[in-house]
Point group: C2
Chain length 333, copies 2
């Protein structure tokens, strides 16, 4: 190490994680458990958000909030544990729309959020308050307080995301994705500030669906540039393990979009946004992406210990990239 390189304390500095729902929330939980309180900011995709039954529903925000509050439903990956379903049964009896499952407790989140949004509060402020009340110490930040809506082009035409994802169970083949409203939406100011923070330890792209969970975030004006200019290493974790997605339509969608279902294809998709790429041990040697450092880890998160271990591996990898970068900066030209 060169004497002129800045001093590095690997446990210092905040970590920013970009995340969708289930898979991303697992890593976010791992990170939250190994980092000191206040040192993790999770930026949540809101492209899945929608209005249903007059309620404003933010699936990824809620999965993150419930997961980090320890009240998530580990069986479904969404919704609350110890949930009851009286509302849905009564709604069915009244002839209401029941294709989107809303548990009784979960409903409180949607009803209260909708009320507060209509009273003029921002989604981020409401999320902050909910997190505080639920004892979540991690900052969960909607990617934007402006409305972005993922749409999916299929043989049946352009579909609203939840229509595709839940009502049609991801069955229609995807030809194209669009993030309606993204071009005019402002990334949350704290999100951009975190990316520009010289103290930032790493920006982590969680193993979420790249097209459904991460691309909506990247579609916000200035986010790609901020990630590229970010002083800290940007590290992505592959959502593909041995040619399969752990959960959800990622693999099916990659095939439909004409991509090979490989960890490498995801790295290529992220391109120069990322500095490092963490793949599963089983995918070692399969990724060669110019300008992207690659490392391996056990990326399948089944237990809580798995989540923490992967979080440690991600940070160790990011710290190694940060050291290399510092050394390179300190070394003679």
């Amino acid at each position: 190490m060169n004497a002129s390189a800045p001093a590095l304390h690997s446990r210092d500095g905040p970590v920013l994680a970009l995340s969708g729902g289930i898979g991303g929330a697992k890593l976010a939980l791992g990170l939250s458990r190994i980092l000191p309180p206040g040192e993790l900011v999770v930026v949540a995709n809101t492209g899945d958000d929608f209005e249903h039954l007059g309620l404003s529903i933010s699936p990824d925000l809620d999965t993150l909030m419930y997961t980090l509050a320890g009240i998530d439903n580990p069986e479904t990956g969404w919704g609350l544990r110890s949930e009851t379903w009286t509302f849905m049964a009564a709604l069915r009896a009244l002839g209401g729309e029941t294709w989107f499952q809303l548990g009784d407790g979960d409903l409180a989140t949607h009803v209260e959020r909708t009320r507060r949004l209509e009273a003029g509060e921002t989604l981020s402020r409401i999320t902050d308050d909910f997190c505080r009340r639920l004892g979540v110490q991690t900052k969960i930040l909607p990617m934007s307080d402006d409305k972005v809506r993922t749409r999916v082009r299929t043989a049946a035409g352009w579909l609203a995301f939840q229509d595709y994802f839940v009502r049609r169970r991801c069955e229609p083949a995807v030809a194209e994705l669009a993030y309606e409203g993204a071009a005019a939406a402002r990334p949350h100011a704290e999100f951009l500030a975190a990316l520009a923070d010289p103290r930032l330890r790493s920006a982590v792209i969680c193993p979420s669906n790249p097209f459904l969970s991460i691309d909506p975030i990247l579609a916000l004006p200035g986010v790609r540039a901020a990630l590229t200019a970010c002083p800290a290493p940007v590290v992505a974790v592959s959502p593909i393990i041995a040619g399969r997605a752990v959960k959800g339509p990622c693999a099916k969608m990659m095939t439909e979009l004409g991509l090979p279902v490989t960890a490498a294809a995801v790295a290529t998709h992220y391109g120069d946004v990322i500095d490092g790429y963490l793949v599963d041990h089983g995918d070692a040697g399969t990724v060669a992406c110019p300008g992207v450092a690659v490392a391996t880890a056990a990326t399948l998160m089944t237990s809580l210990a798995d989540r923490e271990a992967l979080a440690r591996d991600v940070l160790a990898f990011a710290d190694s990239l940060r050291r290399s970068r510092a050394e390179a900066a300190g070394a003679p030209a």
Copy 2:
């Protein structure tokens, strides 16, 4: 009986009942069980309706609907039986307003009604559809599809009804009542049509709170005149038994309004709107109201048999008034 009097079949003709929530719903249930299907129309007070948590809530309509569907909660008198309360617990955890209890199943009614109202449907059409789906054969008609809101003047100023009734538990002394919007609201066309129907057997004013449940209906333009002109007997059942209200703030409110807490005071309050007044056996001989026939019955409805028995007594009383009226019309001048 005079030969020229019209033939009377006491079981013929529809019955119209004016009702609030709990007490009125008991008699409405009794009437629904002894009348042929389709022969009962219940006009519900909507002055108690309000917007809460972004939801449109119609307490009296719902109590009537749940009672007539056989899914009411007999312990509370409001809400659903077999109810769960997960929503309220979750709402409390999020810091939401919890002074108005909303059960998980009950919530489906409010969410779906709100959605359909916002989609442009009328309250009466939605109520019709809900009733059909819940197997209610009685027609339940909101008094108006226009908004009427009962307000209560107290030492704390004018209060919205549910603020007075639920949040403040009827504690503030009532100085005055107002039915905001009533003067501009149109009584439901089917309500007025039923009152003018020559086949009408009786218009029954249920033993509901006169000030909170019946007066809002009477405040609608044309309703008093239609009741006065109604070809069928208008019969009220006293909500006061031996100087006490069976439930709710009626007795307390009468005292605060400077009225004696008697069955007679309620008859005087209704005045020339009613032709007949049914009081409890215990109040026999206490009512002398010019132009109003008085009869007695067991008016406390504890069991289902009580409800049916009172319903039979009400109709028998109405039929006797109808016969007297027919005889008077048929008799030589």
